[in-house]
Symmetry: C2
Subunit: 189 residues, 2 copies
DNA sequence: GACTCATTGTACCGATCGGTACAATGTCGG
DNA sequence: CCGACATTGTACCGATCGGTACAATGAGTC
C-alpha cells in the first residue's frame, strides 16, 4: 500500500494546515482525511484520542518548531540583536510573509481555547519571555524590555489578522519592518 | 407569550456573543436558540437566510456600533487628538478591557473569512483609514500617519489575542497605554 | 366576534458530525 | 512459510448539524 504521508512530521504539517484554514470546529475528520489521504482507521490508529489529540499534537509540533527556530536563537545567541534578527526572519518564513495564519492564535480566540489553554499560554508566554530576555541583554531596562517584547509579539499577531482581513501581504511585511525598528535593529537587513 | 429578547438590537448583541465565543462553525443554532430563548421558528422568521444571514447581520451591527462610537469621533472631532482619545476609550469599553474578543477579527482568521470577506475588509479598512486621517490632521506626514494607524489597529487586535491566550487582562490595558503613547496622546487620561 | 398577519413550538428532513468495531491486508523477523 | 504486529478500508453507531413545513397561538383592527 502506498503511503501518501511518509512520516509523522509531514502528517502533522498537513493536519495543521487543515486546522489553520477551518479552525478546530470546522476541521472535520472528513477534511483531515481528505487532506492527508488517510482514512479514519489510520487517523485513529495514529491518534487514538481522536480530534483533540490531533490538535494537541499539532500544537506541540508547532511549539517545537518555534522552540528550535525562534526561541532558541533568542536564548542562545551571544549577540542578542542577532538572535532577534533570526527570530524575525524565522517568523516571516513560518507565516509565509503573511499568507499563513497563526493556528495557536486562532485557537486562543474561540472556545477551543479552553481545551488547549495550557499549551496556548505556554507558547505565547515563552515567546514574550525569551524576547524580553534578549532585549534586556541588549541593554534595555527589564520593564521596558518586557513591554517591548509584548508589543512586538502582539504586533505580529495583529498584523496576521489585518493582513488576512485586507487580503494584503504588505500589511504583514510592514509590521515586521516596524518591529525591527522598535526592537533596535538596523532598518535594512 | 413573553418575549425574552425585546428588540433587534438586543437580539443581535446576544447572537454576536455566541459567535464570539464559539466561532462561526461552532455557533450552532441550538446554542443560538438557547442563548436568545428563541426557537428555530423565530430565528428563521427574523433571519430567513439562516445562520449566514445572522452572521452578516451581527457583523453589520458591530460595524454600525464602531461607525457611531469609534469612526465618527475620529472623523468629526475638531481636535483630532480628542477624537483619537475617544476612539481608544470606546475601544476599551467595547472589548471590556480585554474580556471580549473581536468577532470580526476571529472571522478573518478561518475559512468563514471567505463568506464575509467584503464586510471584514471594509470594517478594518475604515478603522485604519479614519485613524490615519485623524493622525494626518494632527500633524503627521501622510505616510507616517498610515503606518501609525495600521500599527495601532494591529496592536489592538494582537493584544486581544495575547490577553486571551495569557488569560491576563493587563495585557490589553498595557497595549492601549502604549497605543496612546505612540499616537501622541498624553500618558495619563 | 372575525379577519389579518406576525410570531412561535414542534416535528421532521437528509447530511454530516466524531467515534467505534473489525476484518482484511501489509510488513517483516524468524 | 509463519506468526506477530502495524496499518488500513469499510460499515456502522447515536448525536447533532442547518434547514423546512406547518399548524397553533399572539396581538391588533375592523
Amino acid at each position: 500500500m502506498r503511503r501518501i504521508v511518509p512520516d509523522r512530521d509531514q502528517l502533522l504539517g498537513i493536519v495543521a494546515e487543515v486546522f489553520r484554514e477551518h479552525g478546530y470546529e470546522g476541521a472535520s475528520l472528513a477534511l483531515i482525511g481528505e487532506a492527508t489521504g488517510l482514512g479514519k482507521g489510520s487517523l485513529y490508529h495514529f491518534f487514538p484520542g481522536g480530534k483533540e489529540e490531533m490538535a494537541r499534537a499539532v500544537i506541540a509540533h508547532i511549539d517545537g518548531w518555534f522552540e528550535d527556530n525562534v526561541f532558541a536563537p533568542l536564548r542562545d545567541s551571544t549577540d542578542p540583536l542577532a538572535g532577534i534578527e533570526q527570530m524575525l526572519e524565522a517568523t516571516d518564513s513560518y507565516f509565509r510573509s503573511g499568507r499563513r495564519v497563526c493556528l495557536i492564535g486562532a485557537f486562543a480566540l474561540d472556545e477551543s481555547r479552553d481545551l488547549f489553554a495550557g499549551q496556548i499560554r505556554d507558547y505565547f508566554g515563552r515567546w514574550v519571555t525569551h524576547l524580553a530576555d534578549a532585549l534586556a541583554r541588549s541593554g534595555h531596562r527589564p520593564d521596558e524590555a518586557g513591554e517591548l517584547a509584548e508589543e512586538a509579539v502582539a504586533a505580529i499577531q495583529g498584523a496576521l489578522t489585518l493582513a488576512r482581513a485586507a487580503n494584503d501581504l504588505d500589511v504583514f511585511s510592514r509590521a515586521l519592518r516596524r518591529a525591527r525598528m522598535r526592537l533596535g535593529l538596523p532598518a535594512k537587513i
